[in-house]
């Protein structure tokens, strides 16, 4: 009787949607737990990166101000990108856990958005790393081939 109140569109939406139940829900709960650990580890790594940058700067600042500053700037950019990646992963994990616990559709939408942003940010990091790697790699490779 109650189903008669629903429009055809509602029924179609229900039929054409995947339900987050059973093994899918279990796997998602597991993903939420792993991503939480991964994001916390990322935050710790960010803190260590700041510490490492400070140590490196104090060690190389005597070699000339430009070298020390470039080391500090590169470390700062890397740490900043790393922090945002961990932040997106943490938000994904938190919203996914909330959505699975309370069957909250809004939290599920937000978690999906954070997952997308996480992968997007990693792509940016990979592209930046490849460009920086190519610049430093070309100098290192030329030095190695001179030795060979």
């Amino acid at each position: 009787m109650a189903t008669e109140l629903f429009s055809q569109e509602d029924k179609l939406t229900h039929i054409n949607s995947i339900e987050i139940e059973g093994p899918i829900r279990d796997s998602m709960q597991s993903i939420a737990q792993w991503t939480r650990i991964c994001s916390i580890s990322g935050f710790v790594s960010t803190g260590m990166g700041i510490l490492n940058a400070g140590i490196t700067y104090s060690r190389y600042s005597g070699y000339g101000s430009s070298f020390g500053t470039s080391v500090l700037l590169t470390s700062f950019v890397t740490v900043l990108v790393g922090f945002f990646i961990s932040l997106f992963l943490f938000h994904f994990s938190r919203n996914l856990t909330r959505s699975l616990e309370d069957d909250d559709q809004e939290s599920f939408k937000r978690s999906s958005m954070y997952l997308k942003n996480y992968f997007r940010m990693i792509i940016v990091l990979v592209i930046v790393s490849v460009i920086l790697g190519m610049i430093t790699g070309s100098t290192t490779a030329s030095a190695i081939f001179r030795l060979l």
Binding site: S17, I18, E19, I31, G42, D103
Partner: protein
Amino acid sequence: MENFELGKKDLLTGGGLLMDDQSASEWRQAAGWAKALAILCIVGLCIMLLALAVVFLYSSAGRSSFGSSAETVGVVIGMLLVLSFGGIWVINLFRFSNNTPAAINNCDPLSFEKGIKALKTFFMISTVVSVLSVLVTGIRILVN
């Protein structure tokens, strides 16, 4: 009215979560970015494989620049470990990126489950590597 809408949703979904249009769009986009990342990683692994071949060729010709043969063996074992773990990591990322959009488009829960399980394995490996790298960095900072 709001209660009626909520009740309507509960009757339709059994009170559970649904992959609605907006979430589906976000998951599709996430899978697209994941596929781009997987392709970049495959290229990176291929370059690493090439570097491994170069190291092997130079060491077999007795022209190794890595010092002793033990060091060369160490480099080769390390690279093989990275390649095997990286390979599993990339394969799972690729499986997620392939299965998820297809599952959402065809409304196939089995395919979606495969994609989600691949994503779980991807995050498991990522977490283990991340925790290990934090430990190594911590030890390195303490030693220095």
